[in-house]
């Protein structure tokens, strides 16, 4: 046994040698360690969230208070504040576009998947690092490059892209259409190409790691649901991002080379353009083939994080582990066959529309299964309301309230009325934006002790939660009514419409709520950085959780476990098992040590463990000869 251990230690001596060579640059900047890369993604994502949030505050000011004088923003926005102190209408569109792009891709894709897939996959499956640390590092740096380019586009004279985060042509394809379709759009495309490269590099790594590097005993049926979620997210990304690349490439050709993939019969100021024979609908198909799966790329990791946190803090096994996996698989498959529900009013053949309607509504089934399982896990649990738990429960709430409106929108007939109104905005902000954001927050509160070895302040966490939770509903709930009343999205101002007058107050209310919610995030920021330095030292397993990451040292070194990687004997959800002394049994505890709590069918595992142990002795003896 000891010899076997030595042999294995030798195999990884390579890892430990790294420690000597580390300096500031290799440790904090060009790091290949998955934990550091995860933190890099987190910090960059947080920065983006602040920028994206700030942009929304500016345009909410415009929507809630259209008469407001914004001169005080001139030092920052310069010419974009017009002489009379109002916001430039084209810049309004640019703000909306950048807000969407930043939130969907930079915060909730890179900031969420990038952070937690990187940080948790090796720790929870029992691996020293990702399959390729180098590719992982490249993934971050492509993201960084993409970020720099996207950020630069905010400051150029003609402004950033302004055609909406979906950048539909012809608007986005014709530089003469609006200012934002000039250089800003070019930078948007370049940044997104690097973003796609980053996502693919990351995704390839996540999949390769989950499949190849699980520790002994960590079968797929013992994987934490977080890992299942990250894995399926990566699969979705791998299959859909290349399609976005194709869409973007053809758009680049149309913009810069004069081809007509998406352009046809266009007149600008009475003058006909030479482009003939293109189809803007083609772009919509290509875009939404990524676009819809993208919403699950954003959501699934948050759902996985929630599963883990809710089970841990309910002190109960997750209800329906297999059902959770099957519904995630179902969502993964279905997410690729519903894209045209974003195109019901694009002139799509109504028969085709009803097929997509049918497929869309089927997604409600796995979604409902997941909700049911969250609620039944909570039911009669010994719930511990940590901030992470509150955010997870918040996610479930948003997933329900936002998911229900998806069923409305999925009906092609109702969508004729609701499409491109604030009803859609309310729907996806609840189900995608807020739910995933809460998943991200839950993850930060829950794994902060593992990331930084310190505890975050729980009181500040509660304040942050309640302000944000109430704030989100105050912002997005009224938007349903505004949408049903017929307010279209992406409009600079409605003050010219008679019907809009009776909603002025509601729009003001939403804007005030949005600003308060934004301000509340600074409670979190303070807590985050203050705890990093001044926080209480964390215990090794602060949430009394079963998963492997809590068996590492307080601040794991490169390679994660100083000795051998622990072996896994059971699934990760043995909480409050009848007969057990403690209310949790970590994955590393063999059944042979827990005779008091083993279920009848688990007795067979004890025998298997004995056989394995016997094999190990034989191996060890052979080494001695």
């Amino acid at each position: 046994m000891s010899v076997a251990a030595n042999v294995s230690a030798g195999a990884h001596a390579h890892d430990e040698h790294h420690e000597h060579k580390e300096n500031f640059i290799t440790k904090y900047i060009f790091s290949t360690d998955h934990k550091m890369i995860g933190k890099q993604f987190l910090l960059t994502g947080m920065l983006w969230a602040l920028i994206g949030g700030f942009l929304s505050v500016i345009f909410r000011l415009q929507l809630g208070f259209p008469e407001m004088k914004l001169e005080w923003l001139r030092p920052l926005l310069g010419e974009w504040i017009q002489v009379d102190g109002s916001l430039d209408p084209e810049f309004y569109l640019a703000l909306v576009t950048m807000h969407g792009t930043i939130m969907v891709f930079f915060v909730l894709t890179a900031g969420l998947s990038g952070t937690f897939s990187n940080f948790l996959i090796p720790l929870q499956i029992g691996a020293r690092d990702m399959a390729s640390g180098f590719m992982n590092m490249l993934s971050y740096w492509f993201f960084f490059l993409s970020s720099v380019i996207m950020l630069t586009s905010l400051f150029i004279e003609t402004g950033p892209a302004a055609g909406g985060w979906v950048v539909y042509p012809p608007l986005s394809a014709l530089p003469q259409a609006i200012q934002g379709s000039g250089l800003g759009m070019t930078l948007w495309l370049v940044a997104m190409v690097f973003f796609i490269v980053s996502s693919l590099l990351g995704g390839i790594n996540y999949i390769a790691t989950v499949i190849n590097l699980r520790t002994k005993g960590m079968s797929f049926s013992r994987l934490p649901l977080t890992i299942w979620a990250f894995f399926l997210t990566a699969v979705i990304g791998l299959l859909s991002f290349p399609v976005l690349f194709a869409a973007a490439l053809l758009l680049v050709f149309d913009r810069s080379f004069g081809t007509s993939f998406y352009l046809s019969d266009i007149y600008i100021q009475g003058e006909a353009l030479p482009n003939m024979g293109g189809s803007p609908i083609l772009y919509q198909h290509l875009f939404w083939f990524l676009g819809h799966p993208e919403v699950y790329i954003v959501l699934l990791p948050a759902l996985g994080i929630t599963s883990e946190i809710i089970a841990t803090n309910s002190r109960k096994p997750i209800f329906g582990y297999k059902a959770m996996i099957i519904s995630m698989l179902g969502i993964t498959v279905l997410s690729f066959v519903v894209w045209a529900h974003h195109m019901f009013v694009s002139g799509l053949n109504p028969f085709l529309g009803s097929i997509f309607m049918f497929l869309t509504l089927i997604i409600a089934v796995p979604s409902a299964v997941k909700v049911f399982n969250y609620l039944t896990t909570l039911w009669k649990g010994n719930i511990i309301f940590t901030p992470a738990m509150l955010f997870s429960i918040g996610l479930v709430s948003f997933f329900i309230s936002g998911g229900l409106t998806g069923i409305f929108l999925g009906n092609s007939a109702i969508d004729i009325q609701l499409h491109d109104t604030y009803f859609v905005v309310a729907h996806f902000h609840l189900v995608m934006g807020s739910a995933s954001f809460f998943g991200l927050m839950a993850g930060v509160y829950h794994w902060f002790p593992k990331m930084f070895g310190k505890m975050m302040d729980a009181k500040l966490g509660y304040i942050h939660f309640w302000l944000t939770f109430v704030g989100v509903y105050m912002v997005f709930f009224p938007m349903h009514y505004i949408g049903i009343a017929g307010f279209p999205r992406r409009y600079y101002s409605w003050s010219n419409f008679e019907f809009a007058n009776s909603f002025t107050d509601l729009n003001m209310f939403v804007s005030v709520a949005a600003i308060l919610t934004f301000v509340a995030q600074f409670v979190f920021l303070f807590n985050f950085f203050w705890s990093m330095y001044r926080g209480k030292k964390a215990p090794l397993n602060p949430w009394r959780s079963n998963t492997l990451e809590w068996t590492t040292p307080l601040e794991p070194v490169h390679g994660n476990w100083p000795g051998e990687i622990p072996t896994v004997y059971r699934w990760p959800y043995d909480y409050s098992k009848p007969g057990a002394e403690e209310d949790f049994i970590p994955q590393t505890v063999p059944y042979s040590q827990t005779p008091e709590s083993n279920l009848p069918h688990e007795q067979q595992f004890v025998d298997e463990e004995r056989e394995d142990a016997a094999d190990d002795v034989v191996v060890a003896n052979e080494h001695k000869h």
Binding site: M1, A4, A5, V7, A9, A11, H12, G126, A127, A131, S132, M135, I204, N205, A208, I211, N212, L213, T215, K216, M218, L238, L239, P242, V243, F245, A246, A247, L250, F253, F257, G258, T259, S260, F261, P274, M276, G277, G278, L282, H285, L286, F289, L540, T551, E564, I565, P566, T567, E582, F584, I585, T588, V589, P590, Q593, T594, D612, A613, D616
Partner: protein
């Protein structure tokens, strides 16, 4: 039972070990497949909308297809030679494959020339021509990356790094090259059937 006692038996046995780099290559191939699936679907969707110019594909494409099939054969030869540690043959076969790879690229370029002579341009002619350029061009870009890979393996064969005990790089190169050849045949057949 103490809960903070960690049970470690021995180093983790990897449940399904495939070489991580090889595995990553396969995943990369999946992304390339998706890229071309998107392009060819876009082609079909657009074609269904009418206003689609039909023209004959350059006959050079047949020649190029022959070249790429031949290069797959020489690639395979290099692979079996490496397995048998026959270094002389490895070098020869790798040289042949690389040259054939270049020949294919030149052939594709010439085929574009044929198209231009027939007044079929990337910009300004019918969209069907634009699509042809995009699809063949994207394939050529990937083929260039394949040729670079061939050259890397060729160089390492001169450094005695390709032999039966060190096949990873060779195997990855073989996989990628066969894939690129197969991809071309698929695209060619696709274009023949749908132009």
């Amino acid at each position: 039972m103490s809960i903070d006692k960690i049970n470690t038996v021995e180093e983790a046995e990897q449940p399904l070990s495939m070489h991580p780099q090889k595995f990553a290559l396969w995943l990369f191939i999946v992304t390339v497949v998706m890229l071309f699936a998107a392009m060819t679907s876009a082609y079909i969707v657009r074609q269904g909308e009418g206003n689609w110019l039909i023209f004959d594909l350059p006959t050079l494409f047949y020649v190029n297809s022959g070249i790429i099939i031949l290069s797959s054969a020489t690639m395979h030869w290099a692979y079996t030679a490496a397995q048998k540690d026959n270094l002389g043959q490895v070098k020869l076969a790798m040289w042949l494959t690389t040259v054939l790879g270049f020949a294919f690229l030149v052939g594709q370029w010439e085929a574009w020339g044929v198209l231009v002579d027939a007044d079929l341009f990337f910009v300004g002619s019918n969209i069907s021509a634009s699509f042809l350029y995009v699809i063949t061009g994207l394939h050529a870009v990937h083929l260039i990356s394949g040729v670079i890979f061939l050259i890397i393996v060729l160089i390492s064969s001169y450094k005695y790094k390709v032999h039966s005990k060190n096949m990873t790089r060779m195997e990855m190169c073989v996989t990628y090259w066969h894939f690129l050849g197969g991809l071309w045949i698929y695209l060619f057949v696709f274009l023949l059937l749908n132009h």
